[in-house]
Amino acid sequence: MASLRVRRLLGPGRRWFSETVPGAPSPPASPLYPPVVASITAKSKAAKSRRLQRFNQRVHAAATVEEKLRLYGKLQRPKYTVYPQTFALNADRWYRSFTRTVLVPGMPPRAAAAKPPVVAAGATPEAGGAPEPAVKAPAAEEAPGTAETPGAAKTQEPAAGAAPQIDIGELRSLACDALLQESFYQNKKRPFLYRDQDHTPGPFLTQLVSTLAASLSGRNPLLAASSLDLNPEVNYYWHHGTEVVVHGHRKGRVDPVRFQIDDNPHLQIRVPKQLPEVVPLESDLGDVPVIDHKPSKLPLFKKQYENKVFIGSKVADPCCYGHTQFHLLPDKLKRERFIRERLEDQIEVVYRSNGIASLFAWTAAQAMYQGFWSEADVTRPFVSQAVVTDGKYFAFFCYQLNTLALTAETIKNNTRKNICWGTDSKPLYDVVEDGNVKGFNDEVLLQLVRFLLNRPKEL
């Protein structure tokens, strides 16, 4: 065979000399031999990497997003099911390490132009504990993100006719009406055993959000075009880290660690336009916790089932970006139970782990709906918000997804981190008595209103 090839090269009349013959044609542009690459079917590391590359090329070359998602989740293997609402101790540290998230306490400083001021009777934001977002007088020349000195109380100046002011009294009456309707005025039977949350706080949350969204949709055109989902399903599947298969016919092989989040928020608002980024894509606001143990020590358990990526509706829906999610904590995770078992510090952990896991799943699924995945990292940050509540205490979270590249190969050169801003849980009211709501907290309502009014700068 080799000699035949030599003869073909020589051709008629050419001599086998080492120096270049003048007048010989230049070497052909395309390589004459096919590239020497590893085999596809061999049991070797090179073959495995070649198979992975072929799979990545197949996903890259997929024509539609549905096809991409189908190929991404085609291979089913045992994976850890991550539950956003969990009683596991210190779950939020583990979840942050799985999702490469930095937790920043407090709310992100918002741009001035997007915030209409609020008419409140001399109320000033306190900056203690969890600092409140800075509400500034709308002046376009003020640079967004100028940090306020913590502890400095700022009075809100009314806008010089720029934007209509929010009537906090009217919104407060809407919220109180919803609360009283569900907990006092309606004749309800006794709640079913361990179903207290479905009896009063669930309907109250639905009613509150629908009425607030409706009344604020005149002010925020994004809300008017939004889609409200009741009890939707949000799923996301991803790989992070590697492990060695422990037993079975695949024993000894190095496998990626697979995770799946299956979440059911109580309520969710999806919008057709994306929320603006809070900080630039490459910002570094803290450290991601590193945990040396296997995920099963959390405790986390493996199961093999369909690898779903879903934001709440299919890819064809024009409302493909997320705005706000509302989560209701179940009876199993109520405050009294933690206090009774002397785990008071885990109360906040529950809220944080729910916020981080749910928002990561939602933003990552939104990014996948736009065609990004772990090999094709996001080119713009995806921002979503969430409110976690148990009916009385509200905690607010804002998540910015900067990177999807969490697999073992792609995370090596990845400097980006996802960021989650979160507050502690605060009560919305103290108690409901005789048709009156006592101790209504305007700050919490204000934060909720700010969340609902969040919109891209062009609107």
Partner: protein, 346 residues
């Protein structure tokens, strides 16, 4: 199994039974033993008080109508029970809101198509959502356009009466149609133990105290579990009447009389595709006699919101015959829905 021949009970002489012999003996009579008594009251094994001994027992029977009752004669039966006269089509007040161009119902048509697509096509991770899922989602989306949610919509102010005084008085001549030999109470369960209760569902002082619209969703997955349109309309009528009567009793007292301020309650029923609209006006609470002023109801039945919702494209011989999406969207149905919502506020 053949039934044993009835044995004539012998009362003239003492029968000789095999009770002392402790086993069956052919030829001797079967003994009758007294029923076994526990001797003490075991709450887990006691039969409970008999019907006649229950504290709420009444001699006069009561016919119960609940959400599972399917009327045999449909709307006619419900009309007889509630002493109502039927008028086809929506009342002119509501029709005026439908035709009013100033309310901007045109722009909402695009959003309505969106909401139907979301409910019927996109809302699930599987191929097609089940009716139990898409029916309430569609309804919630339609409500979300204006922002209230709930199965019963209440309002702060009552809906003004739809029919004029002349029309109300004209119902005196109307005769309720009966369908002998069927009694109108045929589908209703007759009970002797009941409690008469006038409950609107809310306590006093509730700011939204006037019932405005009732919504009925037939969202069972199996077709036989769902109500037929006629039965759905009858159910809507019965429950609108019930809410109106409870409110009237609260406002004007328990005595049966003709109301100077008629109470109006609306009702919308759907199975996800067909919509039934109804406006009910309660003119009188005197339901003992067959004549006198009657109540009025306007019904607009069987309005399709869309013809088909195709989740996966139907392909025959390599050619797409039915593409994915909603086809045959009727904006009029959506406009009527909104008009009923806005009735009383506009």
């Amino acid at each position: 199994m053949v039934e044993p021949r009835p044995v004539r009970e012998q009362v003239e002489l003492d029968t000789v039974t095999f009770a002392e012999r402790l086993h069956y003996v052919p030829g001797l009579a079967r003994p009758r033993f007294p029923p076994w008594q526990r001797g003490w009251h075991d709450p887990w094994h006691s039969p409970g008080p008999r019907c006649e001994e229950m504290p709420l027992y009444k001699e006069r029977g009561c016919y119960i109508c609940h959400q599972g009752v399917r009327m045999l004669e449909g709307v006619r039966q419900a009309q007889w029970l509630t002493k109502t006269k039927l008028v086809e089509g929506l009342p002119p007040a509501v029709q005026g809101i439908v035709d009013n161009p100033a309310l901007g119902l045109q722009e909402l048509e695009e959003r309505a198509k969106h909401m139907v697509s979301h409910a019927r096509l996109w809302d699930t991770a599987e191929a097609a959502p089940k009716r139990e899922k898409y029916c309430p989602v569609l309804f919630e989306n339609l409500i979300h356009v204006r922002g209230l949610s709930g199965i019963l919509m209440n309002s702060v102010t009552p809906i003004p009466p739809v029919a004029s005084k002349e029309e109300i008085l004209a119902t005196k001549e109307h005769v309720l149609e009966t369908f002998y030999p069927i009694a109108p109470t045929i589908d209703l369960q007759e009970v002797n133990v009941y409690k008469e209760l006038n409950d609107t569902g809310f306590r006093d002082g509730y700011p939204y105290s006037h019932p405005h619209t009732l919504f009925f969703l037939e969202s069972a997955n199996v077709r036989t579990d769902r109500f037929r349109p006629e039965q759905l309309r009858a159910k809507m009528l019965m429950f609108a009447f019930g809410n109106a009567l409870a409110k009237a009793r609260v406002l004007h007292g328990n005595d049966p009389k003709v109301l100077e301020q008629p109470v109006v309650v609306q009702s919308i029923g759907t199975d996800g595709q067909l919509f039934q609209f109804m406006v009910f006006q309660l003119n009188t609470t005197d339901l003992v006699s067959n004549d006198g002023v009657k109540n009025l109801v306007w019904i607009d039945s069987d309005q399709n919101l869309y013809e088909r919702a195709q989740c996966v494209p139907e392909i025959k011989k390599g050619v797409v015959t039915k593409p994915v999406g909603i086809s045959g969207f009727q904006p009029d149905t959506f406009k009527k829905f909104l008009a009923l919502y806005l009735h009383g506020t506009v």
